[in-house]
Amino acid sequence: MKSPDVAQRFQQLGIDPVGNTPEAYSAQIRHDYERYGRVVKVSGAKID
């Protein structure tokens, strides 16, 4: 992640680098799970 090659390739692909800690990433996944859950409810999508 620190190498210029990676930074350049990410930029070409439109990726914003993050590289956070396992704790921060876990917290974000839990937060996103709640958020996407609300979208699923609003959309009325159901498991077939």
Binding site: M1, K2, F10, Q11, L13, G14, I15, D16, P17, V18, G19, N20, T21, P22, A24, Y25, Q28, I29, Y36, V39, V40, V42, S43, A45
Partner: protein, 158 residues
Amino acid sequence: MSLIGSTALFLVLQASIPANDFKELVALAKAKPGSMNYGSSGLGSIHHLTTEALKAAFGLDIVHVPFKGMGQAVPALLGGQVSMLFSALPAIEAHVKAGKVKLLAISVPRRSPQAPEVPTIAELGVPGFDFAPEIGLLAPAGTPPAIVSRSRQKWRRR
């Protein structure tokens, strides 16, 4: 283990659909509810949920057509089987340049350096609209901390 990075989705419209910007698309969708459809990479995918969030925010009736991956959804857009879809830029950039599709909006609250002319959905009336595909590194539960820590060193930015 780590969120490596995040990117953005562009709302991409089939060139034959008579709307030149997002406002015209909303007007068209409201005038003829259910007349247009959108493709996604599958049920529950980021492409599906982002479009459903957009529909809910603007009160739109656009029919979902799930495909098996964007590799199938993008050709369906080009072929006119679907009217629109959300896609990352690399998958559709060449088709935008060729004039086969139009970029109407971006799913994150910051414009893209790759396409700065495309407005954010937040700007178009939904402050806080933010759906970003993510690239993350995961390991099975119970992976030894020493392994997690070693991998972590490779991915930290500083």
